[in-house]
Symmetry: C2
Subunit: 346 residues, 2 copies
Amino acid sequence: MGFDALNEREQAILKLLIEHYVATAEPVGSRILAQKYTIGLSPATIRNTMQDLEELGLVEQPHTSAGRVPTDKGYRTFVDQLLELKPISGQEAQALREQINAEGSTAVEDLLEKTTRVLASISQQLGVTLAPRFDQGILSHVELIPVAQKKILLILTVKSGLARTLLVEVDVELRDAVLERTAQLLNERLSGSKIGDLHQNLKERVKDLTGADARLLKMFVNASDSLMGMGGAGALRLEGTTNLVGNPEFKDHEKLSGVIQLLEERTSLVELLQQKGIGEGIVITIGKEINLSEAEPCAMVTSAYHAGRVSGTIGIIGPKRMNYGRLVSLVETTAKLLSKQLKKMF
Amino acid sequence: MGFDALNEREQAILKLLIEHYVATAEPVGSRILAQKYTIGLSPATIRNTMQDLEELGLVEQPHTSAGRVPTDKGYRTFVDQLLELKPISGQEAQALREQINAEGSTAVEDLLEKTTRVLASISQQLGVTLAPRFDQGILSHVELIPVAQKKILLILTVKSGLARTLLVEVDVELRDAVLERTAQLLNERLSGSKIGDLHQNLKERVKDLTGADARLLKMFVNASDSLMGMGGAGALRLEGTTNLVGNPEFKDHEKLSGVIQLLEERTSLVELLQQKGIGEGIVITIGKEINLSEAEPCAMVTSAYHAGRVSGTIGIIGPKRMNYGRLVSLVETTAKLLSKQLKKMF
DNA sequence: TCTTAGCACTCTCCATAATGGAGTGCTAAG
DNA sequence: CTTAGCACTCCATTATGGAGAGTGCTAAGA
């Protein structure tokens, strides 16, 4: 990207401008920068630099005689080239550890719930987590357990130790031996496969299983959708919607409404987060880079976390005008703690 | 309440006024009522009646020369004395049945999810459901099922057929015989009791169980919180937040923010709904009657539903200015369908 | 006695200035 | 290359003046 490389002064001005705008939400003018920060330049000089930045598409004016405001591209340059990580405070780190390393939580669900909450409360933004992608996992074993007459508990366990259960009802009472036999056959046929693949073609893969109870097989295939599907609703957790509402960027009703709609609809958000959680490390996505029109005024800081072989995504969502330095540190630390805790649990 | 009994004309005017206000969200003046509805009275006469209604505290003027708007007390009188039920349309009834009576859903969770969604979509308001109050149920039996080494599945089943499961980890590997023995002892000691009572004093009730594995007992007691507690987050479902956002009463940012905060916080909403779901039949709660300041601009139409011996709550939440006649029918029908389906399932 | 036409009154809403202020771009001097 | 100075632009705020809606009250009519 050499063609839009910034000289030192341009970098300094852009950095100060964004930092000031993040703090105040007001367009920032040349005088403010000259006064507030001992930068050794007059407003006029700063104005010249600002014009350069505007020509590069990094800042813009809401109207002719207002100060400048960063554009998406400006934020992008800022986070790519100028970002200073600001480690979270001792207290905050403490709070994180208390929630995530707590001994009490036996279930992944609890842990994610707590994580989402603490993310929201420390960031003062919207905290999000996406449960581990079950469909990435390798099936370890299937169990069919008689619970009551006509009720069977299905358990799917993956290699890392994650499991999902589903209580289903069958039409007729089945003898334990039949259950055991079918479970055994299913295990022989299926274990070692990736859940995602199984989800695609389960019907094909079990249709020629002789010796298994046909009714039971059918039930298993039917149930597989809820067992192997990611279960959009359950997988996504959101906390801190309130934190968004206060932001000046959402005083426009349209915008707020759009974002709330997005959060409610969930599926597109789930897809988005899945995609952001593929790689390693922190991913920052700003404004239009999120390919959803309703999310235009927002930015996300996300990171993958790991539970054995499978991974999920955590992150925070807020207005573009967010404290990237702080939030990147927060999400990074949280993802690490979460992965560590999950490793300990399995 | 004889002292504020309304004469026929006052009733008619109040009814028309509220109906018109519900439709338009604009203060309604005397001329409109005289013109729009063939009421056989001149605006002046209507004005006189309106003054009476105002003295009774049933309507009020936003400002001196505006039309009238119903007060909470006005709505209350309307729903208590003047409400005409408007049966939902055939299409809507069809949609309800399709979602609720669907054969596919094996799990109560799915069913509630669908119910919440369809409530929201038909009402064009916020749909809410609260899962059956597990703690009202009578414990039928406990099961401890070895799933993998060091992993045990706990199942709590109540008389009606509802069950909850939890996968827990134990420090040491336990032999099946030990599990069976402990489960048997737990059943002898606990089954037949109300879950809510057990939740209170489980530790006391099992501490002298000789012959049971101590470690297993401790694990069971620890797990009881998540098994027997109502699990606020999981019990409450909300759909249709977007439907609220569009309403003119929420164009004031403060109000919208308050309601969103309320929805997010969940615990007070759960308590509220539990309380409304105690009796039988439809409960309408209007404005300040909901004892939560953030919910002041809202009204709720709720009803209990039943799953065997235990009950839950469903309902819709919207602005006070809602179509009570239609929504009462909707919630009533939905609660009946839901109870019927649950009965069928167990 | 109840109803209604008429009228003065009040208040909101909207559009139209008028003013002050913030911030810019440009020019010319240092 | 930097900066002081200045004209200029645009927004935000406030004031002003109808137009419109709806009321309360009074007095006349049924």
